[in-house]
Each structure stands twice: as structure tokens, then as C-alpha cells.
Symmetry: C2
Subunit: 133 residues, 2 copies
DNA sequence: CCGTATCCTTGATGATACTG
DNA sequence: CAGTATCATCAAGGATACGG
């Protein structure tokens, strides 16, 4: 039944004393954030809808991530035995409890992302020009 | 001068309409969270100290991540031209502004990580035993 | 429609050795 | 001490084709 034995990134190391490592693995692994966002933003939707929103994702990876999120209790999958089959995904209450954190991140972005951009320019300007003075 | 042309994970896709994708790349890339945490928790410290705290990290990767964080303005690097050389890293004010988000995540962890664990057990229990009833 | 099965590529990481 | 250079590895991700 598929060899999807997903191992968390921190698997090798018991604890590097970073208390939020587990939740970071959970929520901020590749694709999971956009998926959760799409489900939160546009509500319950079918596989294809998600696929179309996350433009560059492949069905294989989308399935992998959705299964993982379902297993972690953040997403609920509902299978309707019709022809053609219909499957709907929605965010669970547990998944929804992440919303404030997402909002917090969005807020930080709005206020500080330009400072990051500025820092990058400064850094590059300092390193780049072999032309000193 | 090294070919460290680091590309963000969302590089290929202009925007998949997930507004927090940039900040996720910035803060939750591999190793960045533990590094920021260590700097925030134990204050300014030298390269080796960080290396020892992040048990499994290699000097190469640690350097890469520190450079990235420095470029993004989240970490400040100070070089002391002594013998032996001494380099100290500390978190910047911009980096420090992430602290509430980290706290928020730690709080969510404390309150919900066991629910995730429970969800996993339930899911596995439902899938695993081909022996129904 | 909703996936799964294969094959393959690639980029991040680890290991190791070596400088200023 | 604080890295850098080089090589080897390896698993996540992408491409493609097919099935219920």
C-alpha cells in the first residue's frame, strides 16, 4: 500500500533543544502552507480545484501532502462514492486553530518584508562590487 | 567566491496566492528555526558554540545558513581580527521581532501537539489492521 | 474524477580534507 | 578558531503513463 513512510526532518536528532521544531515540521513543510491556506481561504473543495490553485503541484505530491495533513488531523477528507467519484477536502477545527498564527505571519510580512529586501540589497552592495571606494 | 546562489523554494512559481509563502521561506527553511532559537535563547555566541548546540549540523551547512540569515538581516555577524580569530553571531532587532511568532508557535504546540499525535494514532488504527472488526 | 505506479533528475546534505 | 573546497550520497520532487 505505497511506501509512504514519511520521516520528519528532525527525525535523526532527538532534540536540538528547539521546542518548536515539531510544529514547524508539521505546518511548514513544503506545500503544506499553501494547501492549508487554500483550504482556509476558499473552504471545502475537490481535488482538482486544489490542483488548479496550486498551479505547479503534481497530483502525486498533492496526494502525499493531503494524506499527511489528514493523518495529522489538520485536514478532513470526504469520499463520495458516485460516478464520477467526488472527493472533498476541508480544514478541520484543529487545522483552523492555526489561523491566528497564519494571520500573525501575514502581519509580520506586511510590516517587515521590505526591511528584509533592504537588508539583502545592502548586503549585496557590500559584497558585490570588487570595486572598492 | 563560492556559488551559493540560494533560491527560495517558491522561486519557480510567481505566486500561488499564498501570502505567507515568502516569510515561510525566510524563517522556516531547514535549520533556520533552530539557529534563530539558539541565538535568541542564549544570546550572542561564537561559531563553535552554535555548532555544538545544533548537534548534527556540519560547519558547511551552518555557514550557509548563517550567511543567508545575515543577508536577510535577521542575524548580525561580527568578526574580530585576533589570533585565533573570533567571530560572534547575534540576532538583530529585525530577527528579534519574530520572537512573538515563535512564542505563539510554542504555545500552539503545548496545547495541540497531543491532539496531532492522537489523530495520527486514530488514522493509523483505521488504516493498518486489515482485520476489520 | 481521483488518484497510483514507475522512472528519473536534482539539489540539499554529509563526509572529508585542507587553509588563514 | 572559523571557515572553504571537493566529492559522494540520497531522498524529495517532477514527468509520465496508466487504472478504478
Amino acid at each position: 500500500m505505497s511506501s509512504t513512510t514519511w520521516q520528519p526532518r528532525t527525525g535523526g536528532d532527538p532534540e536540538q533543544a528547539c521546542p518548536i521544531a515539531p510544529v514547524v515540521d508539521l505546518v511548514f513543510s513544503r506545500w503544506t502552507t499553501p494547501i492549508l491556506w487554500a483550504l482556509h481561504e476558499y473552504g471545502r473543495q475537490r481535488f482538482v480545484e486544489l490542483e488548479r490553485r496550486l498551479v505547479t503541484i503534481t497530483p502525486k505530491v498533492l496526494t502525499q501532502r493531503l494524506r499527511q495533513l489528514e493523518r495529522d488531523g489538520l485536514v478532513l477528507r470526504t469520499y463520495h462514492a458516485e460516478v464520477p467519484p467526488r472527493v472533498e477536502y476541508e480544514i478541520t477545527e484543529l487545522g483552523h486553530s492555526l489561523a491566528p498564527i497564519f494571520a500573525h505571519l501575514a502581519q509580520w510580512s506586511a510590516g517587515n518584508l521590505d526591511r528584509v529586501e533592504q537588508a539583502r540589497e545592502d548586503y549585496d552592495a557590500r559584497q558585490r562590487p570588487p570595486r572598492g571606494r
